[in-house]
């Protein structure tokens, strides 16, 4: 196949990145629940255990707190662990090691150590797995100085950002939306890096800026395409990193379009949309705004099991279309 158009799924792209990282650096290894012969709950590690052996693809017992702590300890002492939480919801069990230890160790020790650990979190709703297996908790971790938190939205970025995370000297938390795992897209061969902390403009436009994260980037692009037919010209910013946030790209885009819509799956209140709105309100872009800022986020409820309720919990393409249209037409 022509290398320039090679396509991989999002899950395959992550797997390839982990293989490249292990090939390049003996210190890199993988840890997690059922990542060996089972291949990972979402088949992201796949057959890596066959290629790299059980010393580098380690099945842990069901021990999230302990497992996260072991990864932190190995990272501080010279290894480069990539730790998979089976579901992002189980970050809640590992929180102590993530928040109190990994994030603060370098600071507390006055810069004497680094914690180059990577943690991966399959996240989000849409699979019928109900309240304890569908959450989007990235903003929780985004609130913690010392962590870097990323949400790649394409197979290309999933690979490049994972390789950036492995090369990073500090703890990097990767939130991967489960519904993206099967998404296919162009993924270059070999090693490349997509920098942490840089947003990407996925579609240029002059009427409205949509700042979206993760799977909402795809939904925003669909909405933008539909509204293009109505003569509404939308710019879609893929935030990609929520800590450190790319303030400049957002501000520049809003200065150009004069309108801002934030779209994210996590619960709306106290979420990433609040941060994006506030940073725009605090910036020179404020004077350019022609309309109130609007946030579209998850409902104020845990994720329900019933599929129709589940869909209604998070923003869908028609919701984005309606909100964007209202904003541009001045209904709001």
């Amino acid at each position: 196949m022509d290398a320039a158009v090679r396509e991989l799924s999002y899950a395959q792209a992550i797997q390839e990145a982990m293989a490249i990282a292990m090939d390049m650096d003996e210190r890199v290894f993988l840890m997690g629940e059922d990542i060996g012969v089972y291949g990972g709950a979402f088949q992201v590690t796949g057959d890596l255990v066959e290629r790299y052996g059980t010393d580098r693809v380690i099945d842990t017992p069901i021990s999230e707190l302990g497992g996260a702590g072991v990864a932190v300890g190995a990272a501080v002492t010279g290894m480069r662990p990539i730790f998979e939480f089976q579901f992002s919801d189980f970050a809640t069990l590992g929180m102590e090691q993530i928040v109190n230890q990994a994030a603060k160790m370098r600071f507390m020790l006055g810069g004497e150590v680094s914690v180059p650990v990577v943690m991966r979190f399959p996240a989000g709703s849409g699979t019928g797995a109900a309240a304890q297996h569908s959450q989007s908790l990235e903003a929780w971790l985004g609130h913690v100085p010392g962590l870097k938190v990323i949400q790649p939205a394409t197979p290309h970025d999933a690979k490049g950002m994972l390789l950036a995370a492995v090369a990073d000297p500090d703890p990097v938390m990767i939130f991967e939306h489960k519904l993206l795992y099967k998404m296919k897209g162009h993924v270059p061969e070999g090693h490349y890096i997509v920098p942490i902390g840089k947003a990407e403009i996925r579609r240029e436009g002059g009427d409205l800026t949509i700042v979206a994260t993760s799977i909402m980037v795809q939904k925003a692009l669909e909405a933008a395409a539909a509204l293009g037919g109505e003569g509404i010209d939308i710019e879609v910013v893929d935030l990609r990193t929520i800590r450190p946030i790319d303030r400049q790209t957002i501000v520049d885009s809003v200065k150009k379009t004069s309108r801002l819509l934030c779209v994210y799956e996590a619960v709306k209140t106290l979420g990433i949309g609040a941060e994006v709105s506030a940073l725009v309100a605090e910036s020179e872009a404020f004077d350019y705004l022609d309309a109130p800022i609007v946030r579209l986020g998850g409902a104020e409820t845990p994720i329900p099991y019933n599929p129709d309720l589940e869909k209604a919990t998070v923003p869908q393409v028609p919701d984005i279309i309606a909100a964007a249209r209202d904003l541009v037409k001045g209904v709001r």
Binding site: D89, A131, Q132, L309
Partner: protein
């Protein structure tokens, strides 16, 4: 047949525990419920395959004697916390299959009004505080329920079901310790089916028998063959007596096996076909109990046939009830997040 059965009844003294402890009618009820669990899960699986149920589910087929044996000595207001593999616990504690099906179909008539699904199935009225999506999540909650029982002097005993995988979570260790220091009326039931998802206990757990961990928390640790109803019920009976007498917790390790994969997306790569077939052919808990009941003269072929037919009808009716039930209105999306106040 009737004569033989009478002769056997007279010599009940030599039979295993449950045949001495419970009436023939109660024991036939147990067989009925074991079939109900088995057929419920087969029915749910079929509905899932046909796209009528979404999400995922974890079937306990092969573990029915464990659920039934543990719940046998429990009173209606005793309580349990259950797991992701909790359909059997739910039925054993008294739930109706129609409302369970309704839950799996996401309907308002379901036990969780369509919000929970298989992984959060519960029946609070019957003392089932809920299955759990978090491995080990229910263990400390059971200890809390036992604390309530002790403080409020309700006399309730609480059972916490969990798997072999859960015994490596911190919550397991913290919970057992607190239950022991406070002598709470709680029974920890580890249903050891050999695997936590793909990871065998040999690979996940430092001790050979999980019951050995009881020693670290100064409580009795009992190992039972989880596929033999009488063995499980006997251990549970003793643990319940101990709990009611205020003597504190017990850890029961019920060794069993799940016939199906971990969930609907398991390719069974971590175990052999021979192993699965061996358990199905030689240690099926429903077959074992049915054979025993018949051999001891507590039931005849006609009686077994009647149970099977009754169960088949209950399952078919349950599915019909679920299908005919209303789905929740989207407008109710944010209900039940907080307690409604007048």
């Amino acid at each position: 047949m009737a004569g033989a059965s009478k002769a056997v009844m007279d010599s009940r003294a030599n039979l295993p525990f449950v045949y001495r402890q419970y009436s023939p009618e109660q024991l036939r009820q147990v067989l009925h419920k074991m079939y109900l669990i088995r057929r419920f899960e087969e029915g749910a699986e079929e509905c899932y395959m046909r796209g009528l149920i979404h999400g995922t589910m974890h079937l306990s087929i092969g573990q029915e004697a464990s659920a039934m044996g543990i719940c046998m000595p429990l009173a209606e207001d005793d309580q349990i916390t259950s797991t992701h593999r909790g359909h059997g616990h739910c039925i054993a504690k008294g739930a109706e299959v129609s409302r369970m099906f309704a839950e799996f179909f996401g309907k308002t008539t379901g036990y969780c009004k369509g919000r929970g699904g298989s992984m959060h199935i519960a029946d609070v009225a019957k003392g089932n505080l809920g299955a759990n999506g978090i491995v080990g999540g229910g263990i400390p909650i059971a200890v809390g329920a036992a604390l309530s029982s002790k403080r409020m002097k309700t006399g309730k005993v609480v059972v916490s079901f969990f798997g072999d995988g859960a015994n490596n979570e911190g919550a397991f260790h913290e919970a057992l310790n607190m239950a022991a220091i406070w002598k709470l009326p709680v029974i920890f039931v580890c249903e050891n089916n050999g695997y936590g998802m793909s990871t065998s206990t040999a690979r996940s757990t430092a001790v050979k028998n999980i019951a050995e961990r009881a020693a670290a928390y100064s409580m009795p640790g009992v190992i039972v063959n989880g596929n033999i109803f009488s063995e499980v019920a006997e251990a549970s009976f003793k643990a319940v007596e101990r709990a009611r007498a205020g003597e504190g917790p017990t850890l029961i390790e019920s060794k069993t096996y799940r016939h199906r994969g971990h969930s609907k997306s398991d390719r069974n790569r971590y175990r052999t076909k021979e192993e699965i077939e061996d358990w199905m052919a030689n240690r099926d808990p429903v077959t074992l109990f049915e054979t025993e009941l018949r051999d001891f003269g507590f039931i005849d072929d006609q009686g077994i046939e009647a149970i099977r037919n009754a169960v088949a009808k209950e399952i078919a009716d349950g599915i019909e009830f679920a299908k005919a039930s209303p789905a929740p209105e989207i407008a109710t999306l944010e209900n039940y997040v907080y307690t409604e106040q007048a």
